[in-house]
Symmetry: C2
Subunit: 116 residues, 2 copies
């Protein structure tokens, strides 16, 4: 039994840069799923709010107040980001904290911008 915290596999985990060689069908599926999750203004701001926080994590309670949207709507968007593999989720007492998976963001960045 390893004592190290379980390190989830990246939802992308592949692929040379876009401009270097044509994406495979499966690589495109995986990358597009991430891009689609980020392709909504609210989710992108949520991602940014979490990622730019000290420690790369934020409580839902803080996030709700940053938008003029209902709490369930924010919850829904966080779920989309979480299921895409872009946010980690941890419950601490009554509060839920989301943490940005910056490795995934970096992989994605390398994929779309990795060439010269």
């Amino acid at each position: 039994m390893s004592l190290a915290p379980a390190k989830q596999a990246s939802p992308l985990g592949c692929c040379a840069p876009l401009s270097r060689e044509p994406l495979t069908e499966e690589g495109a599926e995986r990358a597009a799923a991430l891009l689609k999750a980020l392709g909504d203004p609210v989710r992108l701001r949520l991602m940014s709010l979490v990622a730019s926080r000290d420690g790369g994590e934020a409580c839902v309670c803080d996030l709700n107040d940053a938008f003029e949207l209902s709490q369930p709507t924010i919850s829904h968007h966080l779920k989309v980001l979480h299921e895409a593999g872009l946010l980690d989720r941890e419950k601490r007492g009554v509060w839920v904290y989301y943490r940005a998976r910056t490795e995934v963001l970096n992989e994605l960045a390398a994929l779309i911008g990795g060439a010269a």
Copy 2:
């Protein structure tokens, strides 16, 4: 009258990296539009096919054959990428060539992965 070829403004043209500071509402709007355009497997492969080509451009005739989709569907996706500002379009005789705007891809990459 300038003789240099018109250099279009980037559709993003802004914003510190996601993880560095919270995106503004407008910055998120612009970036999300690009991400959304890329957030479809077919469009992402199209983008990759064009960008990875020698010279960074490809003829529609080549692109159509790479998918088992109707010609109008490919045309539609190319239009989406073009209108998002990710592909330039040039007609040469009977053929139409699309060219990848790699500066835009790079800006986007810097936005989502720009931090450490």
